[in-house]
């Protein structure tokens, strides 16, 4: 007695002290001194990511499992983190939420968002009620980077902000029978691929009057200063073209097996679905965990919360499922200021064979894809422009100089202090002779600056957690047992769902994508007949096909709704009533037949 009280007091003290000290750093970590301290002011290469994940695994063994779900083309591990509170049940009996980032090698910040989400869940577990509630009946499957090869290429080798997008398996972009034989070359050895220009009075570009770093197209009648020569590089294979077949050259987010189209319809789709080790690893991982019901993928950039369909030919999403998307997506616009909740093919562009469509259309998983961040300079410097250039802007052409517009260059000079800018400098090119090289570096575009990264991480993690919370949460409500004259028992049971996501998507039910939910009795009991109650006042039921001790619930339990079942059971004593949903969780309740 004494002992128990002591323990309770102790526990209370620990909890109290943890929450009160945790308040200070709540935004990043619920703990003052978390067992592992990660920062989100820089980008993790694969080695650093691996070490961070291993440290977290060591620090939170009861919550986190780290698994390698396959090797990339170059042999790097593709890491997946499974976060499950084992005390509240095995992972496969809880609705799962999946996250991946960085499928496009150059779109790196998705990895930081995913890592932050892992970190946030782990360090706030036991400190923040919202997190504990999530971890009570949800499980997370998180793949911080599914393209580690190109991630490391992007971080460590010379490139620009747009590549490498795909993986690094050699690919014959120009159909000359040779693979990756003419990529860009870092001529000035600054670790970046920028641009080349050559001074030429007959050129069609000139320096901007506002800022000499900016190159703008000449208007008719204007005197030119430069010809623009494109990205830094050489004609490595002597075929008269420069940089026409660089590393990789395919797009893994066009390689998923739904609404897949060949390369001539969808550039970069690869020879056939799941042709790459990375896409196969993701497919196998996600299919091995059929309890996954919600998913989020991360890209950059433009501030979008995207849902499918990726192409017009798929038609519109079924209305009940669309309502689920709308409910969560619109909340997302509140969580992520400036982000627009939109449809891929209608509001962005057509994507055949994207992972979003595969997850939703074949696996029945509600999936969003976020385009993270905006142009770094957005909202910074309208005031930097002269009146003259404002006027010229109206002709629109001036805005898009090939190496950056005025706002962007001023941002780089004044906000980032030139850290991500290469000012024009001379170079002797073997083909073009005297040229100049310059432009914005790879980290100056598409990814957030280091001071912006934490906000990107937190807000997008918050959106993921909101979606995860909106996965089905089923309850066995109102169980009534009645003994009938015949000696059989009539059991009326209501299964409710307090969240927006149904336990089976409308599409999955229609196309029979996975097994339906199962209502089962366990013990000394046999179901004689059963039905779904369609009118509880008149007690009308629609009969279902019964198999001895269970029946199938084809449409599951709707979002924010319930289903009333009536069973007539032959049995006695204590029995278990089980509601077993593949994606909606597992409920079990003892009832006695007397």
């Amino acid at each position: 007695m004494n002992k128990t009280i002591k323990i309770i007091i102790c526990l209370a003290c620990i909890l109290l002290s943890a929450t009160s000290s945790g308040l200070v750093l709540m935004a990043q970590s619920g703990q003052d001194r978390p067992a592992v301290k990660l920062t989100f002011d820089h980008f993790y290469d694969h080695a650093e990511l691996t070490s961070a994940l291993k440290q977290l695994q060591t620090a939170y063994p009861e919550l986190m499992e780290l698994v390698s779900i396959g090797k990339s083309y170059q042999g790097r591990d593709i890491w997946a983190v499974i976060i499950n509170n084992k005390k509240t049940g095995p992972a496969e009996k809880k609705p799962g939420f999946y996250i991946d980032g960085n499928i496009h090698g150059n779109e790196i910040q998705g990895t930081e968002v995913a890592l932050y989400t892992i970190y946030y869940l782990l360090t706030n577990s036991g400190h923040l009620e919202a997190i504990d509630r999530l971890l009570f009946d949800r499980v997370f499957y998180i793949v911080p980077t599914m393209n580690p090869d190109s991630r490391d290429y992007f971080l460590h080798l010379a490139t620009d902000s747009n590549s490498p997008r795909g993986g690094l398996a050699p690919y014959d972009d120009d159909r000359d029978g040779q693979l990756d034989e003419d990529g860009p070359d870092d001529l000035d050895k600054d670790g970046n691929i920028t641009y080349m220009r050559k001074r030429d009075p007959r050129g069609n570009y000139r320096s901007s009057a506002d800022n000499p770093m900016v190159m703008e197209p000449c208007l008719p009648g204007e005197k030119g200063e430069f010809i623009f020569l494109g990205s830094e590089g050489l004609d490595n294979d002597g075929d008269g073209l420069i940089n026409e077949d660089g590393p990789g050259g395919y797009d893994m987010n066009r390689n998923f097996g739904f609404n897949w189209q060949p390369n001539y319809v969808q550039r970069g789709s690869g020879p056939y679905p799941f042709a790459w080790p990375e896409t196969r690893a993701i497919r196998d991982f996600i299919m091995k965990h059929p309890n996954i019901m919600g998913a989020q993928t991360f890209h950059n950039y433009g501030g979008m919360i995207l849902r499918g369909p990726g192409a017009r030919n798929l038609g519109d999403t079924l209305p009940p499922d669309r309502q689920v998307y709308d409910f969560i997506g619109k909340k997302g616009e509140m969580i992520l200021p400036g982000y627009r909740y939109i449809v891929i093919y209608k509001d962005m562009y057509t994507v055949y064979g994207g992972s979003v469509d595969f997850f939703y259309n074949l696996l029945g998983i509600f999936t969003f894809s976020n385009e993270l961040d905006f142009d770094q300079y957005v909202g910074t410097i309208r005031a930097g422009r002269t009146r003259a250039s404002e006027e010229e802007d109206s002709s629109a052409r001036r805005r898009f100089g090939p190496v950056g517009n005025l706002e962007e260059i001023i941002y780089h000079q004044l906000v980032l202090m030139g850290e991500q800018l290469v000012e024009w400098k001379p170079y002797k090119h073997p083909l073009y002779g005297d040229i100049e090289i310059g432009g914005v570096k790879k980290m100056g575009r598409r990814v957030p600056a280091s001071f912006q990264l934490p906000e990107t991480c937190h807000r997008n993690a918050a959106f993921c957690l909101y979606h995860a919370d909106q996965l089905p949460r089923l309850n066995l409500e109102e169980i009534k047992v009645k003994r009938l004259d015949s000696g059989l028992f009539q059991i009326d049971v209501r299964i409710g769902n307090s969240q927006v996501t149904p336990s089976i998507s409308a599409l999955a039910a229609q196309k029979k994508l996975h097994r339906p939910d199962i209502l089962r009795v366990q013990g000394k009991a046999k179901i004689i007949t059963a039905g779904v109650m369609t009118d509880r006042f008149r007690e009308l039921t629609e009969p279902v096909k019964v198999r001895e001790d269970y029946f199938l619930v084809q449409n599951g339990i709707p979002g924010f709704g319930y289903v009333d079942f009536r069973l007539v059971v032959d049995g006695s004593g204590e029995i278990n009533l089980i509601y077993d949903s593949l994606k909606g969780g597992y409920l079990e309740k003892k009832i006695s037949l007397k």
Binding site: G177, W260, V265, N313, P516
Partner: protein, 685 residues
Amino acid sequence: MSKLKLISVVSMLIILTVLIIPGSLIGQSMSDNQYQSPAAVTETLKKMAGKYTDICELSSIGRSYGGLDIYLLEIAAGRNNSKPGERPAVLVVANSEGFHLAGTEAALNLASTILSAYGKDNYWTAFLNDRAVYIIPLLNPDAASAYFSTPRQERAGNGRPLDEDNDGQVDEDGPEDLDGNGLITLMRVKSPEGRWLIDPEEPRLMRRADPKKGERGEYLLYSEGYDNDADGEINEDGPGGVEINRNFPHDFEYYNQRAGLYPASEPETQALLRFMFGHNHLAGIINFSTENNLLNMQQTGRARAGTDRVRVSSRYATFLGLEPEAEYSLKEIAEAMKSSGMVGAEVEIDENLVATFLGLGPAMNLDRSDQSIYEELQKEYKNGLKEAGLDYLEKRARGVGQGSFPAFCYYQYGVPVFSFDLWQVPETKKSEKREGLTPDRIKSMSSEEFLTLGEEKIAVFLKEQGAPSNLNAGRLIKMVESGQLTPVRIAEMMAKRPGVSAGQEKENPEAYLLDYSDTVLKGQGFVDWKIFNHPDLGQVEIGGFVPYLKHVPPMDQLQDSLKFHIQFSQKLMQRWPVLSVKETKAENLGAGLYRVTIYLQNEGWLPTSLAQGRRSLAAYPIRASLKLSEQQKLFAGRPVEMIPVLQGGESKKLEWTVQAKKGSNLKVIVRSNRINPVDVTIKLD
């Protein structure tokens, strides 16, 4: 006592089974004339590889879902001179369907014919010295095994278990051989829900009741078996998984379990695709399956291009001089593109190209220029069939299917593919009543053949088909002449007309099968209905056609066709493009300048790339590169000339002006992945 009785009953049953199994007479007799099980195919291949060690190599490209190896025989001589994997090659694939045992037989025969020709026949000796032939005789061994199993049940799927009734369990309710004859046939049972009738003309056959004629169905039909999982359904979830010949990625049927969850979901499909994309030198494909794409050019689906009016996005509309708000036909857009000059003059602009350009989806029809190649070969093939007495194949020839291997080969791999079905159930005189034209016959005609029918016959056909009056023969002929319509499209249009089929279906659609069984097979193709007391259904009758009747002929029925198709396949292989340099010239222009000219020719009959290959970006252009020495300098011309295509027999003049020392040599190397390499050295005097 009772035990003894049981044993005697069992042994009686066994004896009976042996006597009754028609298969034992059809294919499984103890003579040499038998189909080969997957294990026997492996043995045959190993023997071949052991006998011809110098010119062939046997390997496995992967395993089926059920764990059986998928073998590949590489036939190539002169292995020390060049790697077979880098030579232009022909790939032969057979039996993607599993039940097409004739295909496996053909592929093996073709292999042994070519192997034994090496060193004896000049053509094949030369062919194998600088080219290669790859043969995969059995792509779907899981399904093929079913033919050799007892009880025998037709099966096309691989070993992947499927949950066909979506109850969370797989393969829990398959068929059983209730009457113990070693065959899974049908059960008919009287039921108030019945939709079938016993055909009054032929009581062995069943026919759907026609409510329009006041008929009421009396019977339900099931395959032979129990309701193993007590769910009220019979045989609703048996073994047999994904059909490999529906699992390829052109026009794939999503949401059809038999086709797979997604394209190339199956290990068999993946193994073949991996091999093909790893061997970028495969110039063409011969396929043995139930599809015959020379007799029936019907493609997998209806063309999406050509019918819709579409909007052009404002971005392109400005370039093309079109209104972004208005809708245009693809043809109109093609015209606008031609006059805009935004596409190079060498590119042929047609509706297909426009469809690609506007993102309207994949090609769904043979490109016109490719179609003319197929039509040419069709003529030759049909003549050959007639001479060999095999023209009965035409009537039931099937076009390429959705998600099929040959469809993938043409539309995505972009190379010529020829698919042969080898055999069809022959029609006895009795069932060949109608002499007139039918949509089926029209379907197998080329445009030219259709036109030679003449206006009168076509008019009769249209009348018979109940065509609308505005579609008269003269108009139809004009449309076919101009290429707006093909016989395949006409047949499709007619087949879709309501009420027409009623006239044709006067005869039970299975009557010809019964004729075949009665006459050719002496009754062995049909199991007579017998009463059986079924535990779930009560009294039923078990009977019907024996499994595989439609697909696996007695071996002796196949021989003529095998012989012909192996010869024809060899002929086709000789049609592939061959590059050569016809003539070279070096003119001395003075001052150390030389004008060098070479004439490059395609000596073969087929073009160096198909139009669809170019559209699908799968074709390799021919690249003629000048290899200059340090002292040589290009004065005029391109360092690399790209030639997208040379038609059969076509030649192309290439010209460069170089600055070089007198007496030096200039080298030009000509390469394209799927054609033989050519090196030219030109002396500059």
